[in-house]
């Protein structure tokens, strides 16, 4: 059972090794020039950087992240249901209604978020 995942492990080692070897190669073979304060400063279109490196940003980004967690879990819940749907629906019609009510509950949350303007990026 777990042996199915062995190739994934090998693939992971291969990919990481590839990435690491590329990084090392460029460190070894790449030329390095002189360091200076200007060269080391953050890129701001050639001007001297103003303020801190990480400006404050809109709270909406947090909102999207939170909503993502909520709805992504809903999607994951749908997967096992979807896989057995075709075989089970013949005898158990309730499968359809149970998922419809489950999605309905989340739809209420979704409509609430829409109404509150959590997904409105216009302003």
């Amino acid at each position: 059972m777990l042996s199915e995942y062995l190739p994934v492990l090998i693939q992971m080692i291969t990919a990481t090794g590839l990435a690491a070897s590329m990084l090392i190669l460029s460190v070894v073979l790449g030329k390095s020039g002189n360091q200076s304060d200007i060269k080391n400063s953050p890129y701001e279109c050639g001007m001297l950087p103003i303020g801190e490196g990480q400006p404050r940003f809109s709270v909406k980004f947090y909102m999207v992240a939170m909503l993502f967690v909520l709805f992504d879990i809903e999607v994951v819940f749908m997967y096992p249901w979807a896989v057995v749907f075709r075989d089970m629906i013949v005898t158990h019609t309730i499968m359809f209604w149970s998922m419809l009510s489950f999605a309905g509950i989340l739809l209420v949350a979704y409509l609430y978020a829409l109404k509150k303007g959590a997904l409105n990026w216009k302003e």
Binding site: A19, L29, G30, P42, G51, F57, V64, M78
Partner: protein
């Protein structure tokens, strides 16, 4: 060693080093060629076989096909600058975290049916997992970390804004992507990508019901509607996940310079680039596997025949590659045709339009499966 391990090492070697990496290199050239063609230019056509080194009078241009090699060499030889203001560990980790997940997803994409080599049954997929789509979503989500870390570690304004935008874009489209796969899972009743491809080989592709044995059932024809909607949503979501053109806000040059990789140079920048292209290639592979039959040769179901004839496996592999390359061309075509979205349009499209459409689509599929026998 067990034959299973040897076979998987060979498969990984072939898929990673002989398929994905050369395709990444070639599509970086193809991108410029396609853009040149669309904009009525010539495109790169000089870098060929450097015959002058070996004493010949002229270089052989060779359609500029050696360009990716020259680019790679240049990337490696350039100064590997790590600016003083960055968070060093994360700065180095970020490009690795973009590239590795992109290369990991390739493990579950089947590129052929089961064949017999030296009496051993070999499945033409690196890892035949029973949780294919779940694995893909888990791994592609990791790609977000690379971009967020790049923005965070750079400690500079443009990368930071690019990373914040990118993360919210990618997670927004992940929901519609996840939902758009649900109808496919319902129709095939399967979470194993190789078995989904096999099913499509015998009974017709999701989008082409008459490509298998016979003309397809009535149910398959009616299911074309939700399948097509799913296909559109999934394809658009892959565009958004790979930050390709209509959705390339994370790195839109006019507003954010280079987006999350503004502070990167040399090979580290190249790794972001390669990660993006690898994600594009594997995304095409996923679209094909879910909706267009994967490795299956249209109108000729070959899965049974391939068991005793190993060369059929090569044909299937070729068919898979052809479809992937066709899709890569579509990716480029779209990039050089459509303008970029505004951020509020992008979020509205993802959260309002696609989310609702995908949710309705799930229940539409359920109704069809219940009523149309």
């Amino acid at each position: 060693m067990e034959p299973f391990i040897i076979a998987s090492i060979i498969k990984i070697f072939v898929m990673t080093l002989l398929v994905v990496l050369p395709l990444v290199a070639l599509s970086s050239l193809a991108e410029r060629k396609v853009s040149a063609f669309i904009q009525d230019r010539v495109g790169p056509n000089r870098v060929g076989i450097p015959a002058t080194i070996f004493g010949a009078k002229k270089d052989i241009p060779f359609l500029g096909l050696i360009q990716p090699l020259a680019d790679g060499l240049k990337f490696i030889l350039k100064e590997d600058l790590t600016p003083g203001h960055v968070r060093k560990f994360f700065f180095i980790l970020a490009p690795v975290l973009t590239m590795v997940p992109a290369m990991l997803t390739v493990a579950v994409v089947p590129f052929g049916s089961t064949i017999n080599i030296l009496g051993e049954e070999v499945k033409m997929v690196i890892a035949d997992l029973n949780v294919g789509p779940l694995y893909t979503f888990a791994i592609t989500s990791l790609g977000v970390y690379g971009i967020v870390l790049a923005g965070y570690a750079s400690n500079s304004k443009y990368p930071f804004l690019g990373a914040v935008r990118s993360s919210s874009q990618m997670i927004s489209y992940e929901i519609s992507m996840g939902l758009s796969v649900v109808p496919v899972l319902m129709v095939y009743g399967e979470l194993n990508l190789s078995r989904i491809a096999l099913e499509q080989d015998t009974n017709g592709w999701a989008l082409l019901p008459f490509s298998g044995h016979g003309w397809g059932t009535l149910q398959q024809w009616v299911l074309l509607v939700p399948m097509f909607i799913s296909f559109i949503i999934f394809t658009v979501a892959i565009f958004a996940e790979t930050n390709r053109m209509p959705f390339d806000l994370p790195e839109c040059e006019t507003e954010l310079v280079g987006g999350y990789h503004t502070e990167y140079s040399s090979m580290k920048f190249a790794m972001f680039f390669m990660g993006e292209y690898a994600a594009m290639i594997i995304g095409s592979g996923l679209i094909i596997t879910l909706f267009l039959g994967g490795w299956s040769i249209p109108f000729i179901p070959t899965a049974e025949f391939a068991k005793d004839h190993w060369w059929v496996g090569l044909l299937q592999f070729g068919c898979f590659l052809t479809k992937v390359i066709a899709f890569i061309f579509v990716f480029m075509w779209v990039r050089w045709t459509l303008p970029r979205f505004r951020f509020d349009q992008l979020m509205k499209l993802g959260w309002v339009f696609f989310f609702e459409l995908a949710l309705v689509n799930v229940f539409l599929t359920a109704l069809i499966l219940m009523w149309v026998k």
